[in-house]
């Protein structure tokens, strides 16, 4: 699939869904420690998100890296904006910045009380 089509598909995915996580594996069966860490953070916060398993699609696996100019997976998108990979999401979660950003953008969190 030509890059333009891949970019169009990614753009559609990240704009039509509030929160999208490009990861290795799935929310329930992550297949990489870094992907698992980000997925678990989102699961813990009770965020409703779409996960895309890049292991199932080589076009997307490379395409997403070109799209964001970011060489690794996972990649988190909120309201179409690239937020970061594992390090940044973890840092933002620990500082509370991620929770703040999600609520500011109108995304509900169901943190287990």
């Amino acid at each position: 699939m030509p890059q333009e089509q891949i970019f169009d598909r990614i753009k559609k995915e990240v704009t039509e869904n509030d929160v999208v996580l490009y990861m290795k594996g799935t929310k329930i069966f992550p297949q990489c420690g870094f992907s698992a860490l980000v997925a678990n953070i989102l699961n813990m916060l009770g965020v409703d998100y779409v996960s895309v398993n890049v292991l199932e699609d080589d076009d997307i696996r490379q395409g997403i890296k070109d799209y964001s100019n970011w060489p690794t997976i996972p990649q988190l998108y909120i309201k179409g904006e690239f937020i970061g990979g594992c390090d940044i999401v973890k840092e933002m979660f620990e500082s509370g910045e991620l929770q703040e950003m999600l609520t500011d953008k109108g995304i509900t969190l169901q943190v287990a009380s």
Binding site: W70, I83, G84, C86, D87, M92
Partner: protein, 76 residues
């Protein structure tokens, strides 16, 4: 193929000359590192932009020989 911490430091310093780089070998297998990078040139940049500067410095190594590199950037 593993990569040495010296090589990582050298690459980062070529790309970001004023950087102070500390590498921690997380697993002893030459493949899982953590890099703490301090550089005044990060000032005014978002975390994503700062990390992209580091990835640009590492060039094609990132994602090939270097699979797992945790990055922590700060201005000072």
């Amino acid at each position: 193929m593993a990569i040495s911490s010296e090589e990582i430091i050298a690459l980062i310093k070529i790309g970001i000359p004023d950087a102070t780089v500390t590498i921690t070998d997380m697993a002893g297998d030459g493949d899982h590192y953590r890099a703490d990078i301090v550089s005044p040139s990060f000032a005014g940049k978002s975390r994503v932009q700062q990390h992209q500067m580091v990835y640009d410095a590492l060039g094609s190594k990132m994602g090939s020989e270097l699979h797992a590199l945790s990055i922590k950037t700060s201005e000072s």
